[in-house]
Amino acid sequence: MITLDAVTKMYPKSRRPALDDISVQVEKGEFVFFIGPSGSGKSTFIKLLLREEVPTQGKVWIAGKDLAAIRSWKVPQLRRSIGCVFQDFRLLPNKTAAENVAFALEVIGKTRPVIRRIVPEVLSLVGLEGKENRYPNELSGGEQQRVAVARAFVNRPLVLLADEPTGNLDPDTSIEIMRLLDRINRTGTTVVMVTHDANIVNQMRRRVVELDRGRVVRDQNRGVYG
């Protein structure tokens, strides 16, 4: 599903590459943790997958497509096949939970009947029944992240990218979010999660890829944080 082939990324003003000749493959339906300290290249990895950046050398493939070969006006198409969840939720404060999810559908041109059908479905999937009309500031952190997950998943993406999704949550809430991601993974969606959270990695016992200074230092099935 995701292939990085000898990828190096140099930023113009830095002497050391953010990613240094890394090759990783993620199969369809896999659940992979990317761990590593700050500056290890995790964020760059996410930016490459979203094609916010292109590699200096090497190639990134998603679902058989070479991202460097995608024309810039087709990048939105790529992003529709990738769902994203972030540490800071990134919800629109002036829209309700349901409207936040609907917004993602509106801007890719889905019709109103489709939106009205799908939004309640996906909100109940993430366990927010009855809270559709709450605004983000009326929801707890865990609930806000559920809205974000619902928005990321509502298009049934091939890949779900989660960038420290539990970074702002307490341990119990974190586990709930992980259960949710696990359920989404079981529907066949590939999940790539970048995290610092050792507890979660140790509990989940999934594949772990550890990065350090832009290199892969460990790639282990059913791994722990280490």
Partner: protein, 293 residues
């Protein structure tokens, strides 16, 4: 759905940034009004030139002591002259009548000028109005002739004046247009900045480029359109107040054709088109720099 979404985004944007929006509308309106006025003057000059081409007369004024023999000799010469199409004698009485007609809006001035003050003259129409100076050279030293003058002199002065007004108008219009453009670009930047959260989310979930940019471009286009409407209303007011009232004597003299309502009406859609195209292009190119994929 799509249209409604995009329109409501644009309306929200305009309202959120209302002081800037008003500034943008005013500068756009002034710029377009001047542009429209300049355009009208340009058309005016062309029409005036065409009109005068067929009407211009050379006036051969006679000395007070010109004898009947002098007149007869002159008439002979006119008849044989290949430059002359036809000619007409104007007596003091006729000159006075014409004078009264021309200045009927200032009766005091008319009353102050006696019949004797106006010379007799021949009004000569040329085959080719460009031959004025050749004719003037030919006749100015004839016996009994005091001087040869042409409306062309007055007219060319008038043209020079209108030209100057037109050019000034265009220069000010261009400067205003630059200000309007910068304000448009700035408004769009501010709008894009104040909505960076929405924009980043839109890009994240895969909204297409035009879907992200259109509300901003539309914002500029709507403001531009309102500006164009105000500019056009300004021209309408100018037509009613200036041309039809204050400057009426100039036009009734018949030298300059009146700026017609049809001309004013025509400028409306043209200004609107200019506004929309400029706003659209400005918006799109600004966003290429500020809202990257």
């Amino acid at each position: 759905m799509r249209a409604k979404f995009v329109l409501s985004e644009a309306a929200t944007g305009l309202w959120r940034n209302v002081t800037m929006t008003i500034a943008m509308i005013i500068t756009t309106a002034i710029s377009l009004a001047l542009l429209g006025a300049g355009g009208l003057l340009y058309v005016q000059i062309q029409e005036t030139k065409d009109l005068l081409r067929n009407k211009v007369e050379v006036m051969v004024f006679l000395k007070d002591d010109a004898s009947p023999q002098d007149k007869k000799a002159l008439e002979e010469k006119f008849r044989d002259d290949s430059l002359v199409r036809d000619f007409e004698f104007e007596s003091r009485e006729q000159a006075h009548e014409r004078f009264k007609e021309l200045f009927k809006h200032s009766p005091d001035f008319v009353a102050g000028v006696s019949k004797q003050a106006l010379p007799e003259s021949y009004r000569v129409r040329l085959k080719n109005p460009g031959d004025y100076s050749a004719l003037a050279d030919e006749y100015k030293s004839e016996k009994g002739v005091s001087r040869v003058s042409s409306q062309q002199e007055t007219v060319s002065q008038l043209f020079a004046m209108i030209d100057a007004i037109k050019n000034t108008t265009f220069i000010v219009a261009v400067m205003q247009a630059v200000a309007a453009l910068l304000l448009m670009a700035n408004t769009i930047q501010v709008a894009a900045y104040s909505r960076r959260r929405e924009v980043s989310i839109m890009k994240l979930v895969g909204a297409s480029n035009w879907y992200v940019r259109l509300p901003f471009v539309l914002e500029a286009a709507i403001a531009g359109l309102i500006g164009a409407l105000l500019a056009w209303l300004g021209l309408v007011v100018a037509k009613v107040m200036l041309i039809d009232k204050a400057l009426k004597p100039i036009f009734t003299s018949g030298l300059i054709p009146v700026i017609e309502w049809s001309d004013i009406m025509m400028t409306g859609p043209i200004l609107a088109m200019v506004a929309i195209v400029v706003a659209g292009v400005t918006g799109w190119s600004t966003l290429r720099f500020y809202v990257k994929v």
